[in-house]
């Protein structure tokens, strides 16, 4: 209904990242929000669901950041992969370094939405809207990525583990712009898993999705990253499960212990896509599947 309200928004682009930070800060100081629009794959849909705006309502400012050079591009230097907040999923899945060194990220991007969504959607947008169902964010959780944010006060990095505080809540200040994500690349050939349990094979929001990345040394996992979508108010990082796996040889991990750890790490709910019981079942099953691939007898 209220897509008809789009003309009631002020739309603009900023000349530079610094100028953008200035606009956001200035408006924030006045108590006004600024919408940063990248792909719009969440935001435009949300507008449609909102009640129509009254004529007296303040005009929201929407800044299109999809073309901002500082927010774009994918680079890899000395084992650090940096993905601009406004790089699209299509760019991510097609990038040679991503394909070679972060194949789980590429696999995730391939299964996300439809190709049209992939051509517009961005990691920055996924982080900003902060849905616990976001596949891209689950992948970042598994990589223990850092989020680069910038404001008029300067630039800082938020480790993923310190990012999310509650349902759609984060430690990013309201005037901080998401610039990029940085991933410390695991050694080449590290085992990984992207397993999406969606409502169908494509164009599906996850019922449960598991991102996993491991570094194995003989019978042990020495580094483990896990991220799970749609099983808690925030993207689940499965810390108990990680601790369990890192604490003992793969051969000593039992299915029961693993299941118990997974259940302690998640807090799924019934919703329109699935049920709490099914999510618990599927979460356990996909984690077991990953550990089985790694060599655990589960």
């Amino acid at each position: 209904m209220s897509l008809a309200d789009l003309p009631l928004h002020d739309m603009q682009r900023a000349a530079s990242l610094d100028a953008l930070c200035g606009i956001v800060a200035e408006r924030h100081a006045r108590g006004e929000a600024t919408v940063l629009l990248a792909g719009g794959t969440d935001w435009v849909v949300e507008q449609e669901l909102k009640p129509p705006r009254g004529d007296a309502d303040p005009r929201p400012l929407v800044v299109d950041v999809s073309c901002m050079a500082e927010l774009r591009g994918i680079t890899a230097t000395r084992g650090l992969l940096r993905i601009g907040a406004a790089a699209t999923y299509l760019e991510i899945r097609r990038h040679p370094t991503v394909i070679e060194r972060a194949p789980m990220l590429a696999a995730m991007a391939r299964e996300l939405g439809a190709i049209q969504i992939q051509a517009r959607g961005t990691l920055g947008g996924n982080l900003a809207t902060a849905s616990p169902a976001a596949d891209g964010v689950a992948a970042l959780a598994a990589y223990d990525a850092s989020i680069v944010v910038k404001s008029v006060r300067g630039e800082r990095r938020i480790p993923f583990s310190a990012l999310q505080t509650g349902y759609k809540q984060s430690t990013r200040a309201p005037d901080e712009v998401i610039v990029a994500v940085e991933i410390a690349l695991p050694p080449e050939g590290s085992p990984w898993l992207w397993r999406k349990v969606g409502t169908r094979r494509a164009q599906a929001i996850s019922k449960v999705a598991l991102a996993g990345i491991a570094v194995r040394s003989e019978d042990r996992v020495v580094r483990l990253g896990l991220g799970m979508a749609s099983v808690a108010p925030i993207t689940a990082t499965l810390l108990q499960t990680r601790a369990l796996v890192l604490s003992r040889p793969l051969s000593a991990i039992t299915a029961d212990a693993l299941d118990a750890a997974v259940l302690s790490d998640i807090a799924p709910i019934d919703d329109v896509r699935s049920t709490r019981e099914y999510r618990k079942h599927a979460a356990k099953a996909v984690v077991r599947g990953f550990l089985r691939d790694l060599g655990a007898p589960v």
Binding site: A4, V45, P52, R200, R201, I205, V272, E277, R288
Partner: protein, 758 residues
């Protein structure tokens, strides 16, 4: 010589049976086709919107227009403004606007129109409904138990009974006792309860109409299947003479039954706003409003008790069908009837009693949807026979083949099948092509954490209207002779994407010897096409196509007679004839085969003049960890009588099968307190191309002596019937989980698995 003349004078190979290009194809793929919302704005045109009830049941105490809002340029229509507040369907029990009672969520209460779309959206929110909520009845079993009365005297929209053999007694109690006794005396008795759920048509183009009034009366153009249904509703709603109502079909993006009866509602709404405002009004639903407010497939509960011999011969059958009609009756009696008539499946039974009842609930009215009640009952009987086979230790398809109807056998209504029974060939072809028997004999293949299984179903679907329907309807088609020896078909049968235009041209061309390009298809408008009956019930090709054939032949014969007396080619003779007679038109009416007899009071006789038959086979992979089901292959052998256009015919079968697969595995309207939780394409899950299996369709042609083009039967609905039971059988083969309830969501399979372990 003109093309028409050349083709008329020289023999050419037939068009029927060939895959000519669709005549509407180019305009659709290039975007030139104008759907209703593409039609140019008319001067002064307003947009229309609907204020709907947010609760499923309430007393409507009042309506307040927010005094702070500027209503000066907004047209408002309430129930109190209406002279007639009835939507004419089978009866006129549904109000156009709720007056004092709210009977379902999203029920229309107030209509608004405004030139400014944004202001219109605000106006919708500025209407305050004073509602006193009442406890809704949302469960059909509670409705049947009369926990509260919400419709009529007892909530019952309709009841039917079908009896045969020893149960064929006039007294219902005696009949029920007789079937019980017949079953009890059988060697093997099996009981089961099988349920199905709502399904949304999800046509690609939402509902929409444009209405305007002038000195000729009311004009409505819209996305619709049945122009004369809308015509009838407008005549009744405005108390107008028939010739003052003009309903025209715009290019229509799919219907699947969803644009059978509902367009009457939106047409009345737009016409009311247009009448009050004196301006044209455009009403186009968005997806959310469309999913919430318009009709869906009736959910059904079927309880079956059957008796058979130890050798598998089926003997006695008792079925109780309960359908959820939703808040108003609308077309429910007809859906229930078709459901009941297909409930015994494609099998011989000696003794039968089928009791079908549909009741009201406080949910939006359920309505027409491809299959029209049959997919619900065929799900039940197919699953039930799978259970019987389990009990007997037999392969289900062997058991089914043993009991399938043959020519000369009688159905549950006592109809003797008089030919065109291609079911055995369908079964043979589909099972062979899919390698069913070898795959069933081998133990379920488990590879890693994935189990593979195969399952099948066999079924029939009556073509055309039930019983005496076609006889009463007397569908008519006109074919006009045009200058140059061309023909124009005038029919109310609409092309909603299924290819009517093209197929009718093929039939008319072959009936006359003319070329396809010489046959025009008039835009269906009640102002100049006769009432051919609605575009429903798998009747378009078989029934209306037959009338087209006869009408075209009649016109061509008159031209040829002129040719014989005065010479010249076809075109010249046509022009001479037109000069002489000014108008050369054949207006032909449907003639039911004389042998068809049907008794509506006893539900006995020839329920349909003929049936289409099919056997579906599904092969699935089930992820044993997550219980996700992937259909890896789908085979259907379908007896269509005669395929006029094999590619489009197969297209109907592939599309219908995919719709059945969607219903079986994913599609699920999620309800909470009478409200729909997933009215969007992101969360009402239909299959994507990646979810669609490779399809292998075999056309079987057991011609129907009265069908056009050499024996065509209906095909539109049949492919919706068998997909779900075939998939359930395949899932059972793969996992051992026997599903009785649709849809087979992983969540549901997990429950089955947990209960089995428990």
């Amino acid at each position: 010589m003109t093309t028409a003349a050349q083709n008329a004078s020289s023999a050419r190979p037939p068009f029927i049976g060939t895959n000519v290009p669709r005549t509407d194809g180019a305009s659709k793929v290039t975007g030139r086709a104008a759907y209703v919302d593409d039609l140019p704005r008319e001067p002064g045109e307003l947009f229309g919107a609907t204020v709907r009830s947010p609760v499923p049941r309430a007393r409507l105490r009042g309506i307040t227009l927010d005094p702070a809002f500027d209503w000066s340029d907004v047209t408002v229509v309430r129930a109190s403004d209406l002279a007639v507040n009835e939507v004419q369907c089978i009866t006129a029990e549904q109000p156009i606007l709720a007056a004092d009672q709210i009977r379902h969520a999203y029920e229309p209460v107030v209509l608004l129109a405004c030139a400014d779309k944004r202001k219109l959206a605000q106006a919708v929110r500025a209407v305050k409904l004073d509602l006193e909520p009442l406890t809704p009845i949302l469960d059909p079993e509670q409705s049947l138990a009369k926990v509260d009365v919400i419709w009529g005297e007892d909530n019952v929209h309709k009841r039917f009974s079908i009896t045969k053999g020893r149960a064929d007694l006039p007294d219902p109690a005696a009949s029920a006792a007789a079937i019980e006794a017949a079953i009890a005396s059988s060697e093997v008795v099996v009981r089961g309860r099988y349920t199905t759920h709502h399904q949304e048509q999800l046509y690609i183009e939402p509902q929409g109409v444009i209405a305007r009034w002038d000195e000729k009366g009311v004009h409505v153009t819209g996305s619709l299947q049945c122009p004369y249904y809308v015509h009838k509703a407008l005549v009744h709603g405005f108390d107008l003479a028939a010739d003052r109502v003009h309903v025209t079909q715009a290019v229509t993006g799919g219907g699947f039954g969803g644009k059978e009866e509902y367009p009457s509602v939106i047409a009345l709404h737009a016409a009311l706003l247009a009448q009050k405002s004196g301006k044209p009004v455009r009403m186009i639903y968005d997806r959310k409003e469309d999913i919430e407010a318009t009709t869906k497939r009736h959910p059904a509960i079927c309880e079956i008790v059957s008796g058979c011999d130890r050798d598998g011969t089926l003997r006695a059958l008792s079925i109780r069908i309960l359908m959820d009609g939703g808040a108003y009756m609308t077309l429910t009696p007809v859906v229930l009837s078709r459901g009941a008539l297909h409930a015994a499946g494609v099998y011989r039974w000696d003794d039968v009693r089928i009791d079908a009842v549909a009741v009201a609930t406080n949910t939006p009215p359920n309505g027409a949807f491809r299959g029209f009640g049959a997919p619900q009952t065929i799900w039940a009987i197919e699953r039930h026979l799978d259970r019987v086979a389990q009990e007997l230790g037999r392969d289900p398809m062997d058991l089914k083949a043993q009991n399938m109807l043959r020519e000369g056998d009688t159905t549950a209504t006592g109809q003797t099948l008089r030919g065109s029974v291609g079911v055995a060939e369908c079964l043979e072809k589909a099972l062979t092509a899919s390698g069913y028997h070898d795959k069933r004999k081998a133990p379920p293949a488990v590879r890693g954490r994935v189990a593979r299984g195969i399952g099948a179903s066999v079924f029939m679907h009556g073509a055309g209207f039930t019983g005496s329907g076609e006889k009463h309807l007397k569908g008519r088609v006109a074919v006009d002779l045009l200058p140059g020896g061309r023909l124009r078909i005038r029919t109310a049968s609409t092309d909603i994407g299924q290819g009517t235009e093209t197929v009718f041209r093929q039939i008319a061309a072959d009936a006359t010897g003319l070329h396809l390009a010489d046959i025009d298809f008039a835009v269906p408008s009640t102002s100049y096409v006769p009432d051919s009956g609605p575009t429903v019930a798998s009747r378009t090709v078989m029934v209306v196509g037959g009338i087209v054939e006869r009408a075209a032949r009649e016109v061509a014969a008159r031209v040829r007679a002129e040719q014989e007396t005065s010479g010249g080619d076809f075109a010249a003779a046509a022009d001479r004839l037109l000069t002489k007679e000014r108008e050369v038109t054949a207006l032909v009416q449907y003639e039911h085969p004389g042998w068809v007899t049907w008794d509506d009071s006893t539900y006995k006789g020839d329920a349909y003049p003929v049936y289409g038959y099919a056997c579906d086979v599904a092969e699935v992979e089930v992820d044993l960890d997550t219980l996700e089901v992937t259909v890896t292959g789908f085979w259907s052998a379908t007896d269509v009588g005669k395929a006029i256009h094999p590619v489009m015919c197969k297209g109907q079968i592939e599309g219908g099968s995919l719709q059945a697969i969607g219903w079986a595995l994913w599609e699920d309207v999620v309800w909470k307190n009478g409200l729909i939780q997933n009215p969007r394409m992101t969360n009402y899950i239909i299959p994507t191309a990646l979810d669609a299996p490779p399809m292998h369709v075999d056309l079987v042609e057991a011609p129907y002596a009265y069908g056009p083009g050499g024996g065509a039967k209906g095909v539109g609905e049949l492919p919706m019937d068998g997909g779900a039971p075939a998939i359930a059988a395949a899932v059972e083969h793969a996992t051992g989980l026997f599903a009785r309830d649709l849809p087979l969501l992983p969540e549901r399979l997990l429950e089955l698995q947990t209960n089995r372990k428990g």
